[in-house]
């Protein structure tokens, strides 16, 4: 039995809307009773993924569209699918997400390029598909996983 019914939140592609979507997602995940570290992980991964859509998929302000965030909980964790109708990922695949170089000259210290690293570092599975004119990014986060099913009565 899932702990909560799957839900979907849709927003207009916009950075302030991303903020309120994150708040809504986290409150929707309330029944999972995530600890603060797990909640922080979920919020960070989703923030990075959603900001990428705002910044890179809907680059043209005249054709800004919607982003939808679908959440469900399964035995192996939290599944989130983010879909948008913006531009496809370059080469049809997400960036590798290499860690940014920190052992560099002062002027070369990175001011960006942390996003995909954080997503891939913190999420368990990340997959991307372009379906027609839609981007579908699926993320699994290993949070709220029962440590053992032993001793539980069958539901």
């Amino acid at each position: 039995m899932p702990i909560f019914q799957p839900f979907t939140i849709s927003i207009r592609s916009d950075q302030m809307a991303v903020r309120s979507a994150l708040k809504d997602v986290l409150s929707g995940l309330g029944p999972l009773e995530l600890g603060s570290e797990e909640a922080g992980t979920v919020e960070l991964v989703l923030a990075e993924a959603l900001n990428n859509v705002v910044e890179h998929a809907y680059t043209d302000t005249e054709t800004v569209g919607d982003i939808s965030i679908a959440c469900s909980h399964e035995r192996d964790g939290l599944h989130v699918q983010i879909t948008d109708q913006g531009k496809a990922m370059p080469n049809g695949t997400p960036p590798l997400g290499q860690p940014a170089e920190v052992d560099v000259e002062f002027d070369d210290l990175p001011e960006g390029g942390f996003g995909w690293f954080l997503i891939k570092d913190l999420a368990k599975d990340v997959s991307y598909e372009r379906v027609g004119s839609e981007n579908q990014l699926s993320i699994r986060l290993a949070v709220a996983i029962p440590t053992s099913d032993a001793g539980k009565s069958p539901s």
Partner: protein, 112 residues
């Protein structure tokens, strides 16, 4: 994005009055930091104790603010909440700044 600033003889303490440094306010934060640190003491202490969340845009803006000081001045970070500290650790950017768990601890250490 509100910042409050206090200047001591050797230190400028900039406290972020807000819970988030994210993509929505990263540019605003960078600009406000530039204004607050244009001149003044060599060492800037960025007090992050009220900040509960930063994303990669916020992290980039903090790095940009530090680079904006130039090599002759330095930026210390103080009062990182656990979630914020984790972003610095994961990206290894904690190795680029002096990081202090509390503002008081930073001031004790940095006041000469």
């Amino acid at each position: 994005m509100q910042l409050s600033t206090k200047t001591e003889e050797q230190l400028r303490i900039v406290s972020v009055r807000g819970e988030r440094i994210d993509a929505a306010v990263a540019l605003e934060f960078k600009d406000a930091m530039r204004v607050q640190t244009e001149d003044g003491p060599k060492t800037v202490v960025l007090d992050l104790s009220e900040v509960q969340f930063i994303d990669s845009s916020g992290l980039g803006a903090i790095v940009a603010a530090m680079k904006n000081l130039g090599m002759d001045r330095k930026m210390a970070l103080a009062g990182l909440t656990p979630t914020v500290a984790r972003v610095f650790q994961l990206t290894r950017m904690d190795s680029v700044f002096s990081v202090f768990p509390t503002l008081d601890g930073a001031l004790d250490e940095l006041r000469l």
